[in-house]
């Protein structure tokens, strides 16, 4: 099983209940905005601690309220691509890419920096600061930074959102490429059902 997620979490006035068991390497969570999709990704990444439940990815338990397991975020090896990218503003693209890579143990680094740069087409951006990147460029660098940190799985939060049609199509192809060539368990969050049907082996709705 790639993804086994079962969690209960209270956000303000609302109770979020979510259960997912998926064998598809690319699994999607679809739902309207405000349904709690990003909250689920944050729980998987360890940035939010759910009230109760269990999260296991590719057989490794990351969180289990019953047994008290709660792996800290830095040891979950999540390749989290945030919707707002969150590139570090005080570092050039090159340093952003190297940030997670430097901290990963050498046996955990399964992809070379040159390969990532080529795959994402970001070679000409290395000397720039994030403030000088377009939306599509920013997102590609964020994906590259996540891939280089030696992740065991990817979390993609609305990777196509707020990109024009052409850029969104490039990003879609990129996600397909990651799915087919890198065989990395990937959890994708989207509000776009058509997109999810095209990309994901399994989708789950969140209302």
């Amino acid at each position: 099983m790639f993804f086994e997620i079962s969690l209960r979490h209270r956000i303000g006035e609302r109770d979020l209940a979510f259960d997912l068991a998926s064998d598809a390497p690319l699994t999607a969570i679809v739902g309207v905005s405000g349904a709690g999709k990003t909250t689920i990704l944050n729980c998987v990444a360890g940035l939010i601690r759910p009230d109760e439940g269990r999260i296991a990815i590719a057989g490794e338990t990351l969180f289990d309220s019953a047994t008290g397991v709660d792996v800290p975020p830095e040891r979950r090896r999540a390749g989290y691509v945030f919707q707002d990218a969150r590139l570090f503003p005080h570092m050039k693209v090159e340093a952003n890419l190297a940030y997670g890579e430097r901290m990963a143990r050498s046996e955990d680094r399964w992809i070379a920096r040159d390969r990532v740069i080529e795959l994402l087409g970001i070679g000409h951006l290395l000397a720039r600061y994030p403030a000088n990147l377009s939306g599509g460029e920013t997102r590609r660098v964020a994906i590259g930074r996540a891939l280089l940190s030696g992740p065991r799985f990817l979390l993609l939060d609305e990777p196509m959102a707020s990109l024009d049609a052409e850029r969104a199509e490039i990003m879609r192809q990129l996600v397909e490429q990651i799915r087919d060539e890198l065989s990395l368990p990937t959890l994708l969050v989207s509000h776009d059902r058509a997109e999810v049907e095209r990309l994901a082996g399994q989708g789950i709705s969140l209302d």
């Binding site: 990444a45 360890g46 940035l47 800290p72 975020p73 830095e74 040891r75 979950r76 090896r77 999540a78 989290y80 945030f82 707002d84 969150r86 570090f88 503003p89 005080h90 940030y99 997670g100 901290m103 990963a104 600061y129 403030a131 930074r145 996540a146 940190s149 030696g150």
Partner: protein
Amino acid sequence: MLSELEWAVVGLSLKVSLAAVLLTLPVAYGLAWLLARRRFPGIIVLDALVHLPLVVPPVVTGWLLLVLFGRNGAIGAWLESALGITLVFNWTGAALAAAVMALPLMVRAMRLSIEAVDRRFVEAARSLGAGRWRAFATITLPLSLPGIAAGATLGFARSLGEFGATITFASNIAGQTRTLPLAIYSGLQVPGAEEQVARLAVISILLSLAALLVSEWLVRRSAGRRAHVL
């Protein structure tokens, strides 16, 4: 230009202020981080204590320092017997007084800049494999650098002007604790020193102006490069 005596006063003032800022910097940053990032019971009390030197009469702060760090004070007696350090009547005492008075201003500037560091960057760093300390050292600290610089310069300027707590705690001793404001005050006590008072006052204004300009320059320089901060 300046007379030998004036140079000595300026030199002592700079030495005292620099020591005060260096002493306060880590403490102020730690307090600023606590106040900006942590929620714990008693945070309001801590916040108030930090700001106390800003509102309490400086002479009272000086008196409190005397009670704590004087020769017979709880900490002062120990410092003298264990480490051989005497603060009263000594330039180190003037530095301590200036440090305490500068603390609130430094904490305020640093706290604002730490609050301005988006926590989402810290979360991103954590998810990329950085532990708490590493995320702090690589994200929060560099992004709050403009605030550290601004706080340090403000603290320096405040230390240069410190009078009440210094004269109460460290006393007014030429060559040891007679900094610029104390020298001006002393000059006013004797007839015929009007010209010297005026010269020292002008030096004082110029130094303060320079400190403010440097702080402004530091913030602008770094804010220009890091478009997201300040």
